[in-house]
Symmetry: C2
Subunit: 192 residues, 2 copies
């Protein structure tokens, strides 16, 4: 009887190995050999699932984005929109080790996307989803606003989260939970 292979599960394992290597060791370290080692498989299997480094990076970013999205949906049904917005902002920030790793994947991705059209398109798709979620929250918070005002609010919130996330990822000792929480509260307040 032939061995039954669950391709989706195997691919998920490789993606998991890939994003953790990218995050912990940097994109340059994330060679096919290193991913295979981290996933406990052959290099042939890695190249079977990912044609190129960019394929791997895109898959890693999608996984990081999916994980964040799963966390976000837990918050959005709350009744108090100010509390919901604060929870979403806090959840997006690198306040624990796993989210710090997720942020490092974003940093690696942005670094490469600046000079790569395909990666920029991936960024645009992921960001459209993220801004869509923030936009719905702003619409609930400020139903009378014009579309342009809501867009500006989303630009400010999404921007502040990203910039703060970068600084906290690169200087984790300085950006304590208390400091990030203060900043998150200020960001939420600026949008309400």
């Amino acid at each position: 009887m032939p061995k039954v292979v669950d391709h989706a599960a195997r691919r998920a394992e490789l993606v998991d190995a890939a994003w953790r290597v990218i995050a912990a060791e940097g994109l340059e370290a994330a060679t096919v050999r290193r991913i295979a080692q981290a996933a406990g498989c052959t290099t042939g299997l890695v190249t079977h699932y990912f044609e190129s480094k960019d394929d791997m990076l895109v898959a890693a970013l999608r996984e990081v984005h999916r994980r964040a999205g799963q966390r976000m949906v837990r918050h959005v049904d709350g009744v108090d929109i100010a509390a919901v917005l604060l929870e979403v902002i806090l959840d997006a920030l690198p306040m624990d080790e796993d989210r710090q790793l997720e942020w490092k994947v974003w940093l690696a991705f942005w670094g490469r996307a600046a000079a790569d059209e395909r990666l920029r398109q991936e960024q645009q798709r992921r960001y459209a989803e993220w801004r869509g979620l923030l936009g719905k929250l702003i619409r609930r918070a400020r139903p009378a606003d014009t579309a342009a005002d809501r867009r500006t609010a989303v630009d400010l919130i999404a921007g502040a989260i990203d910039g703060l996330g970068i600084q906290a990822t690169l200087e984790p000792a300085k950006f304590t939970d208390a400091r990030l929480r203060r900043a998150a509260t200020a960001i939420a307040r600026s949008a309400l």
Copy 2:
């Protein structure tokens, strides 16, 4: 008579070539050979001034930071602190081609700094200067604030500029001047 070589000027030319190659073609493309080609010199000269790729990246980032700093000081002596803050924020954003290139150097740098301690230290030094400048403006705008409140305001402004700068660098067609100006105005207002 021996040929007189102006080392500082020569190094400055190489740094200029380096940051433009990093910005336009990506960090991976910024090989010694490519920098030499862009600067119109030998590869030996490039390796004479930069021992490693990280050396080159740090030099490129310092140059980008220096250029931004030179622009900023033109604004800070203004009497109207709200106007000064808005000008500083607008000046930091990628609103023309040169500043878009500068932002791409920051993106390349952050992507690599996530997994490199020496680059992270460089980031911390550059950020301390930048936050210092913003902190002085906030102190002028809100003299009665506690130090913690001022720090939160700086976190929000610096964060929003970085996040917005990333998005505008990666999606320049979407982030028009008018849109960036609206966002900059909202950032400045949130801090006043």
